[in-house]
Symmetry: C2
Subunit: 110 residues, 2 copies
DNA sequence: ATCATCCATCGTCGATCAACGATTTAGAGA
DNA sequence: TCTCTAAATCGTTGATCGACGATGGATGAT
């Protein structure tokens, strides 16, 4: 976790380099990582296309075992991109629009 | 690599589901993966902020060993997001605007 | 021709991912 | 209560990541 951060590239003395901070890079990396797997991309798209989706439907729409899908859902949940709501014995997942917008903004600003 | 793809969720018979194909999911996953690491995010940002950058400058701007940075550059190159041009004993890297736009579009369409 | 520099690649190591089956937990219904 | 179902978690396995130092190859300078 050392920090060198010299950035003395060509002597472009624009003064306020400010370099979007490391934090921003880590935030973007984290969100990008969440969608850095085809299965997770498909889950996100599925949840965007319909408002909400029960876990079982997601499992059925992917060629993966239930436990594997559950893991992907966990990753997406941890990233904040999706939310799960317990609904009786089932769990209903939906997109977190704020986080999705955050991802879009961070990518768009690249 | 099996393909189940049932997607018989709620009977929303919108007919043309067309579901962006798997390919698109894999393409997005691949590009997202390229920026799914803070170091690579910083490299991309560095290359966007300046037109081109010699490898050595990139190494100096990151708290990582030269070989590690070279690996990240390789990953970014393989994703198509950046290009490297040999320039004498040095290598000059620059962004591939098309690929970057492709990534932005894929994310924006989520 | 030799040497130094820049960069890529190799080989290694520990950590994490991705997948699965099996098991556990929690809620609904008989 | 007991059972069934839905979903999460556990435990394992093989593959890949991410980091590094060391080595190798190409170019430019002496």
């Amino acid at each position: 976790m050392a920090r060198k951060l010299k950035l003395e590239c060509c002597d472009c003395d624009e003064g306020a380099v400010t370099l979007p901070a490391d934090e921003s890079a880590e935030q973007l990396a984290k969100l990008a990582w969440a969608v850095a797997h085809p299965a997770r991309v498909r889950i996100v798209r599925l949840l965007v296309s319909r408002q909400a989706c029960v876990c079982g439907e997601i499992v059925d729409s992917l060629p993966l075992a239930q436990s594997t899908v559950s893991q992907h859902l966990k990753i997406l949940k941890e990233s904040g991109l999706i939310q799960g709501e317990v609904n009786g014995p089932k769990v209903c997942y939906c997109i977190n629009p704020q986080k999705l917008e955050e991802l879009k903004a961070l990518i768009a600003d690249l």
